[in-house]
Symmetry: C2
Subunit: 307 residues, 2 copies
């Protein structure tokens, strides 16, 4: 027996993640009505065709009207403005949340504009794909994934209940939920997600600009490792632009450490210090084993095979 946790869900920004939230919430039977706004008229038309929302509104304020849960799923830097715009139309007692990869900036934006009678709880489901747009979403997106919520420093019982309800919501969508301070979230994600994306984008750009090696050769022989980076580097450009700008301090901090370590590796190669290389390469193997042990990945020998 599932219980309707939120009689009305509103999703502002309905691309890959926004549309997956709706599909998953419907599949789990935890929402009643669903209203949607997307800034793109083409996307709105497409969402109407896809038919997973009860109402597709041309105005975000209309979408949030009477909603019990409002989820902002726009690119990170657009969340603040969208929240400010709809704030006057929010129902007292509504929970507002989001799905962005940076939480400090959202926490600030929510703190500034959310009415006192609402419960602002920034959130981040760690899930996605290289695809984007409302067609790309799917109901199983959050199954077995972590979702991090970064609640405000409020101690009132009503807020605690709202956090509990939003936790139940994400669990109903198949996720495990973790509560975390937003600053710490942004540091953790800077290393586990933002830096990997930055590096992947960068190496693909470097490879594309070579004169001695053609793009055709890069593509043809990409199975040796490069291909894995191209997948990550095909993620949504606007979303990732916003992530790096919104999490600037943590990203630059991690990037600084990465570059420092890379210089040391470069020096070890130049001077033929094989021991140093081997020591690092042995150490990194352990991390992989821990990930497999923790069940975050299977131990398939799939490198170099088509997936």
């Amino acid at each position: 027996m599932t219980e309707i946790l939120y009689p009305k869900l509103a999703v502002i920004g309905c691309g890959l993640i926004g549309s997956s939230v709706i599909r998953a919430a419907r599949a789990a039977g935890v929402v009643g009505q669903v209203a949607v706004f997307d800034a793109s008229p083409q996307a709105r038309d497409r969402i109407r065709e896809l038919g997973f929302a009860d109402a597709v509104c041309d105005d975000p304020s209309a979408a949030v009207q009477d909603a019990d849960l409002v989820i902002f799923a726009t690119p990170p830097l657009a969340i603040g403005e969208a929240a400010a715009q709809v704030a006057p139309s929010l129902k007292p007692g509504a929970t507002i949340s989001d799905v962005g990869s940076v939480k400090g900036a959202v926490a600030e934006a929510f703190a500034k504009v959310a009415p006192a009678a609402c419960f602002a709880i920034p959130g981040h489901p760690i899930a996605g794909s290289e695809q984007s747009g409302p067609d790309a979403g799917f109901a199983e997106m959050f199954q077995g994934r972590w979702c991090i919520l970064t609640p405000q420093a409020r101690t009132d019982e009503a807020y605690a209940k709202a956090v509990e309800r939003l936790t139940d919501f994400w669990m109903a969508l198949g996720s495990q939920v973790e509560l975390m301070d937003e600053k710490h979230h942004d540091l953790v994600l800077a290393v586990t997600s933002h830096l990997p994306h930055l590096i992947a984008y960068n190496i693909v750009g470097t490879a594309a600009d070579l004169e001695e090696v053609t793009r055709g050769e890069v593509i043809k022989y990409s199975a040796g490792g490069f291909r894995d980076f191209t997948r990550i580097a095909a993620s949504d450009p606007i979303m990732w632009r916003d992530v790096f700008l919104a999490n600037k301090d943590a990203v630059l901090e991690m990037l600084g450490r990465f570059t420092e370590d890379l210089q040391a590796l470069s020096r070890a190669i130049r001077w033929g210090e094989g021991d140093k290389l081997q020591e690092l390469f042995t150490r990194t193997r352990d991390i992989r084993r821990s990930i497999i042990t923790a069940g975050q990945e299977t131990a398939e020998p799939n490198f170099g095979r088509k997936r």
Copy 2:
């Protein structure tokens, strides 16, 4: 009807790739007898147990005796010494080749020690996995993969025939074969394989050394991109140490370009130049599409899902 291309195959160094060559050659029915040497007594015992070779020799010279094709599948830096050691025992007319990821150093080593009556043809099947050792190999390893051969600048017909035969061998194992100059090979692989591995090793090392983020957190939230790097960074430490040392010049050249580009990205983030970020991120998307169009990869939305 398959034809025996080489009545006797000898494999020197029998780990992941060496044992896969044997399994695949046997499955394809293109070799008669198979003799093996591995520097590790434990590996030799294990290969005897696995039973895929007719003879497991305690001495590499015994293994290459009467062999028509000798394939060196040791870590790259060990190839030169192994080739020098067995050279006096090579049968006139034998083809010697290898499977290493760096070709310049092997070409030099072969040119120095191979008897004039032998055909030295360095080779590199672009295939592998994060696993290592003779247990990890499998017969389908080379199916649908590229194998690059870097023949010497010889124009005699006997050599051309030997190259043709080795081409047939790899095609029988399921590969597409490309001939290339060894210097160019090393440049192409520096960007499509060596640099990606170096960067993956580096970021996993950086993440492991953080004080503010625990290793448990890195593992727990690795699905956001980091996990893909850990797989690559779990590759064989000794083999990769050798690759970077043997292909030093090309790797440092590519690393220099990568670092330069990364500094520019870092600066764009610091100064909030969103346009520059978005331009790069859009450009890198095209490369991914080319890889999918070229059939080097399928377009599955598998980021963040368990594979």
